[in-house]
Amino acid sequence: MVSELTTGQRQMALTFLAMLALLGLFVAAFGRADPIGGHGWLVLVFSLLSLFAVLTNYYDPEPAADRSAAYYDAPVKAGIIIAMIWAVIGMFVGAWVAWLLVNPDLTFVEEAWASFGRLRPVHTTAVIFGFGGNALIATSFYVVQRTSRTRLAGHLSPLFVLWGYNLFCLLAVTGYLWGINQSKEYAEPEWYADLWLVIVWVAYFVLYLRTLARRKEPHIYVANWYYLAFILVVAVLHIVNGLALPLSWAQAKSYSLFAGVQDAMTQWWYGHNAVAFFLTAGFLGMMYYYLPKRAERPIFSYRLSIISFWGITFFYMWAGSHHLHYTALPHWVQTLGMTFSVMLLIPSWASAGNALLTLNGAWHKVRDDATLRFMFIAAVFYGLSTFEGSFMAIRSVNALSHYTDWTVGHVHAGALGWVAMITFGAIYASVPWLWKRKTMWSPALVEVHFWLALAGTLIYVFAMWNSGIIQGLMWRTYNESGTLAYSFLESVEAMHPYYIARAVGGSFFLLGALVACYNIWMTIRAPQPAGALQDDHPQERTDPVLEAGR
């Protein structure tokens, strides 16, 4: 990574890292009586290790004078590898907490950090922000360069965005284990980590805009619109929801500027738009590039992709209140959220349909190529989970689903079926392209991963649908005398078999991610074939037995 920097840029990196190390030292010193001191040490160690990495390569030969003749792929490669590391961490902790729900004694250690309450946000942050976020950053760098036919606008800033973002993720997950948590779901990190993320994110936004400004194509390809919406809106959400006053500069604890129902509404305006712009818009950007590229067919309707873009961006903004049905939130605000959620089905299905219709005429590739099949299944689950979401947002349906495992089932239809599947598809497509290999090291292992991931998702989602609906019904069943038919504990006992099934499904999914890591590792290590390289294309099968199915 350092070899792509000029000596001047290497010096700037060193200066910046030294300043960051100093900042870490200050925080460690002044905050030594508070958990924030531990984070001072973490920043210090992180910046010293980075400093060391730059120093050891400091005397590497300088890059060629004109770097603009090639794409800047070092941060993309690093981002993909880091994303896979976070995937394994996050899915491992996820499987752990799933088994904890089966058997609460599986904490192994009687320590606060190993309790469910602290491990759960480690899981959500590691998979959403660690795996998803790094994959989004890496693929957005990849896509914006290819679709603009220009190099990234900067050499240090992409590295700053990538590593700065990962420092944020590290501060987040280590903080939860130490008990640092501002108690806002999907926005758990405290004020100082939030401030750091604002700096990183603004740098990301500026970098993206400057790269687009340099583009050689007249029109900005639609994938970039989605990526840009993701970057811009996440900045707005994060800043507003994170507004808080710390106890002091040397203490981790802070108080939100919002209180009561306003706090709840702000949090779920944030929370739902995190779903919309982090888990949807960003990954739609990924889909609009990688799916047509892999299927080798242009997107079915470019016009439809524009119309659904504006539908998604403007409707999602108003849907957050469906998380607060039957609360102190004014009734009409709940109705507003419900109405917009139902309307959202139109642009959502337009996007899913657009993806599936693009594959029309390439079904033999879907059959033969597991990479493309990952993307196909992702589009199917995207359609499924948005239909389900719009349905669950209806107040009377939510009366049954809220607080139950149905929500968890919905989340994972979206997160495993849509977000993770499209990401694996994009990663399997980009790794050979980036490392200049003909194909992945083992296409058979991609196939193995596909079936593990699909089986895991189906087991998981069906288990949670069942358990959620049983739970919801048990909580609202009355007997002849007008009292509740079941105690709460009985509903917990009824969940047990489903929790086992969920843990098995989740473990399948984790296993698939491990297979992916091995395959990616072997692809990178495989010797580079000599001569000019063709891109990795879906392999046509010449198997005559299967011809008839075409």
């Binding site: 603009s68 003749a69 794409y71 290819r146 036919r149 029109h219 016009r303 392209w433």
Partner: protein, 56 residues
């Protein structure tokens, strides 16, 4: 100044309604404007190009 509940309801029933309709109409006109078609088709096809380096 306290913003009353009625003010907000009024705003969302008037301005909120009209700006969303205006937005939808605007987007539809942009997407279906005949002169834009060639540009959209070119963009959709351009990503399938094989060359893997920036334009000089």
């Amino acid at each position: 100044m306290a913003i009353e509940h009625d003010t907000l309801v009024h705003l969302s029933k008037t301005f909120g309604l009209f700006y969303l309709i205006a937005l939808s109409v605007g987007v539809l006109i942009y997407a279906y404007w005949p002169r834009n078609k060639a540009r959209f088709d070119a963009a959709a096809r351009a990503i399938l190009n094989e060359e893997d380096r920036p334009c000089p």
